[in-house]
């Protein structure tokens, strides 16, 4: 189930809130947790029923490993064996669903073999709940966890706001909250904050990201026919689409958690304001960066084994990050480029930090923007084509196909009913695109992170929230255009 769906907003979320608080109010706190787990399972099964078996197996297997380590806490060798086994099983599951076909495809291409691809349906969010449980296994091995019962553990993994797209939470963030009696009580303040965050996130996703995404989808679908101007615009559209998509998702996830009087960690902190790649990764998908730092970079030796090894460790972390985002060479190259940029920053940090901030920002943003092309392109060839379009200065203006992606109903209606707006569009047909890009730049550079800002329930915010929420809900559905040469 998607957050941005009618069933979630109008049915699932209200029902789950009523169930959860109703059971807690009656004193059935354990039942309330079980209800939340079951609702989370329904949330997950709504994508595809078969996903539930993978999720359930993953939770049961990992809980068994954890209990195994707890029972043998006086035998470090046994615990170490269980940890290695646990990590291997987790990586095995994720490898099977996400990477096996990629590997087989490459072997077939490289060696002329014809191993059949499995074409298995990859369970949504498998990277998230697998990494979350690996972190739990490691923390358990280190003796940093307490003995939590199965209900708490299952809720920790399946809690639906963070199940399919993060943030990757840790046990010390969530478990104490699950057992805190104060957090089981309904809070008007947290509900208000939750509604606000959810509305902002929904608006970012539905109104901004999806409209920008239509243009990006169009452009990335026809890279060979794009001009230099088209390609730059399309790359920016995707850069902002992924921003508003992920930022919107994080806002919604945190908002929903707040409605349940729970707090998820911040995952996204105005990343396009970054003035270096290191700064960018401190702001973008923060819980992934934290995971990779704590469970990969530091165990590899971090910066404790000399400068050369530090740089190798950084590179490995970004290589893994690239692969984590997807099983394709585009993701690998994207990770490698970010790794190289991070290494260069590490080497030249003192010089870089003296560069004027505006210049440092421009270079960082441009680098992020260009590497998103590789991330999003359908293939490495497509990404090369698009980069050639930009750097080769391929002639041509803005394509009609791109402009049509921005003929949204709001513009059409306003221009039909306010005469001078129609005249402006007649004179500047590209104005819709520029408006979206200008608003996007404005929001990402001037807006403050609404998660960190203290929320005050003011009337202005209330009406802003009403506008965003109704606008976004009414935009969850549209009408298709069946064009057939005017017949």
């Amino acid at each position: 189930m998607l957050f941005n769906s009618y069933i979630f907003i109008l049915f699932f979320l209200p029902l789950t809130l009523i169930l959860y608080y109703g059971l807690n109010y009656k004193g059935h706190t354990k039942l309330a947790k079980i209800a939340l787990i079951l609702m989370s399972v329904w949330f997950y099964a709504y994508f595809h029923w078969s996903y539930v078996f993978v999720l359930a197996a993953s939770v049961l297997i990992n809980y068994t490993f954890v209990r195994g380590m707890e029972k043998r806490h006086d035998s470090p060798a046994s615990c170490r064996f269980i940890l290695i086994l646990g990590i291997t099983v987790n990586l095995g599951i994720i490898f099977y669903y996400k990477y096996l076909d990629f590997l087989l495809g490459n072997i077939n291409r490289g060696f002329g073999t014809s191993f059949p691809l499995l074409n298995v349906l990859m369970p949504l969010g498998i990277s998230f709940f697998t990494f979350q449980q690996i972190s739990y296994l490691v923390d358990s091995y280190r003796g940093e966890t307490r003995e939590y019962d199965f209900t708490d553990y299952a809720l920790f993994v399946t809690f639906f706001p963070q199940l399919v797209a993060g943030p990757i939470v840790t046990h010390e963030e969530m478990m104490p909250q699950f057992s805190n009696p104060e957090r089981k009580k309904f809070s008007q303040e947290e509900m208000a904050r939750g509604i606000w965050l959810f509305s902002v996130g929904l608006f970012k996703k539905v109104i901004l990201a999806d409209t920008l995404g239509a243009g990006a989808d169009w452009g990335f679908g026809v890279p060979e026919s794009l001009s230099c101007t088209d390609t730059i615009i399309v790359s920016l559209l995707y850069t902002f689409q992924i921003y508003f998509d992920f930022s919107g998702y994080c806002d919604m996830a945190c908002g929903i958690a707040a409605m349940f009087h729970l707090k998820l960690p911040i995952n996204f902190n105005s990343p396009y304001k970054a003035v270096s790649i290191a700064d960018f990764w401190k702001r973008w998908h923060m819980s992934l960066t934290r995971f990779l730092t704590k469970y990969v970079y530091i165990p590899l030796g971090g910066n404790r084994r000399g400068k050369g090894r530090t740089l190798v460790n950084i590179f490995l972390v970004f290589l893994i990050s690239g692969l984590w985002h997807g099983a394709d060479w585009t993701f690998v190259l994207w990770g490698v480029l970010h790794g190289i940029a991070q290494i260069l920053y590490r080497i030249f940090a003192k010089i870089w930090d003296r560069v004027p901030r505006i210049l440092a920002w421009a270079v960082t943003f441009s680098f992020v923007n260009l590497t998103w092309i590789i991330f999003r392109a359908g293939s490495l060839e497509d990404s090369v084509l698009m980069l050639q379009n930009i750097f080769g200065g391929k002639p041509g203006g803005v394509s009609d196909g791109l402009l049509q992606c921005f003929n949204i109903i709001e513009f059409t209606y306003l221009e039909e009913h306010i005469g001078f707006l129609g005249e402006i569009v007649g004179k500047i047909p590209t104005i819709h695109v520029w408006m979206f890009l200008a608003v996007s730049f404005g929001v990402v550079l001037l807006g403050r992170n609404c998660y960190e800002k203290k929320f005050l329930p003011t009337p202005v915010k209330a009406w802003g929230c009403i506008v965003m929420l109704t606008w976004a809900v009414l935009s969850l559905s549209g009408l298709s255009r069946f064009l057939y040469f005017n017949f």
């Binding site: 109008l10 709001e410 329930p457 009403i466 929420l469 009414l474 935009s475 009408l479 298709s480 017949f487």
Partner: protein
């Protein structure tokens, strides 16, 4: 402001606005999903894939004219005066056999007194996979009886202007189109050789004869059986009038130059063989009406003919002219093959 008051204001107002939008949409019902035209309101009929299902649900009729743009210029009044019916016209531009069949099936579910179904048998869609849809994004939420998925209709920002349009249309003094007018495009088009040649160009002569393979025949069979014959067998009381639209001479020129004439006629003949096995199906073809086909004044492009051709088609079908039977269909296709393979296409030299 207190958080509790803030919550009540936000949730209360949001729910009220959404209920208002849903309520007004359901009341005026621009897609006619819940009821026919309301009171004195007049409805612009411009969204066939959104409105046709509602028309089939909420209007009275005992005959259906459906099909692609080849049928949009039919006049139900002409059909009714010939067949003594009260017909409705619900066409779907560019539709595949599957889409049309699904709509026919729903119509026959909504009404059990339908006597006739008239639909085009577009030759260029015969060799389609049986489950092929021409488009994506059909409003399937309008095509079922599930009230829960109506939310896609009731809370849809793009439906709001359609709702307002009904009011504006009424205030402007317009009236709901008649079935004769609905979907008809003939009066908006230019006809003649010059117009046809604007969008059609002579195909390059092909060397190799195109022949149908076994999988083509299998695909045609599945398409025809699943999307026409099955429905006819399940509705024995309904007579299905099917016709191959008379495309222009340019279409035939293309078939000859690309060496597809024999393959196309084989496909049509095979489909006809299958269709004639069913008693309540009547099949018509007008490919021998050279007076119509070779006169480009009847066409706006290589395929689409003017409304007067639709009138001819109705009267031909009523009189049984051009009807293919088990006795005549083979001779008919032989005649057509011979005629077009020997035809002098020099007219294409502008």
């Amino acid at each position: 402001m207190k958080a509790s008051k803030w919550n009540r204001l936000v949730l209360g107002t949001t729910v009220a606005i959404l209920l208002l939008v849903a309520g007004v949409t359901a009341l005026i019902d621009p897609f006619l999903h819940y009821h026919g035209p309301l009171g004195s309101l007049q409805y612009p009929l411009k969204d066939e894939r959104y409105q046709n299902d509602g028309i089939l649900r909420n209007f009275s009729y005992d005959a259906i004219i459906t099909g692609t743009s080849m049928c949009q210029n039919f006049r139900t009044s002409e059909f009714d005066s010939l067949w003594d019916t009260s017909s409705v016209k619900v066409c779907y531009s560019g539709a595949s056999f599957k889409e049309i069949d699904e709509n026919v099936r729903r119509a026959l579910l909504y009404r059990d007194d339908v006597k006739y179904v008239l639909r085009s048998l577009d030759s260029n869609r015969l060799n389609y996979p049986a489950d092929k849809n021409e488009y994506e994004g059909y409003p399937t939420y309008l095509y079922d009886n599930n009230v829960f998925n109506d939310v896609y209709y009731l809370l849809n920002k793009e439906v709001i202007p359609k709702t307002i349009a009904v009011v504006n249309y009424t205030e402007a003094g317009h009236t709901t189109p008649t079935w004769d007018e609905y979907g008809s495009w003939s009066q908006y088009k230019v006809f003649g050789k010059e117009e046809v040649f604007r969008t059609w160009s002579v195909f390059e002569e092909q060397e190799e004869e195109y022949t149908l393979r076994q999988e083509d025949f299998d695909r045609i069979r599945e398409n025809v059986q699943k999307n026409i014959i099955q429905t006819a067998l399940e509705n024995e009381d309904v007579t299905f009038y099917l016709f191959f639209p008379p495309y222009s001479i340019c279409y035939w020129d293309t078939l000859v130059r690309t060496k597809q004439l024999d393959a196309q006629l084989s496909a049509e003949q095979y489909a006809v063989e299958l269709l004639l096995e069913v008693d309540n199906i009547r099949v018509f073809s007008f490919s021998d009406h050279v007076d119509i086909i070779s006169n480009l004044d009847n066409y706006t492009d290589a395929l689409h003919y003017g409304e007067w051709v639709n009138s001819h088609i109705l009267s031909w079908m009523y009189e049984g002219e051009g009807e293919l039977t088990r006795d005549n269909y083979k001779t008919y296709f032989q005649k057509i093959q011979k005629f077009y393979s020997e035809y002098d296409f020099s007219f294409v030299e502008k």
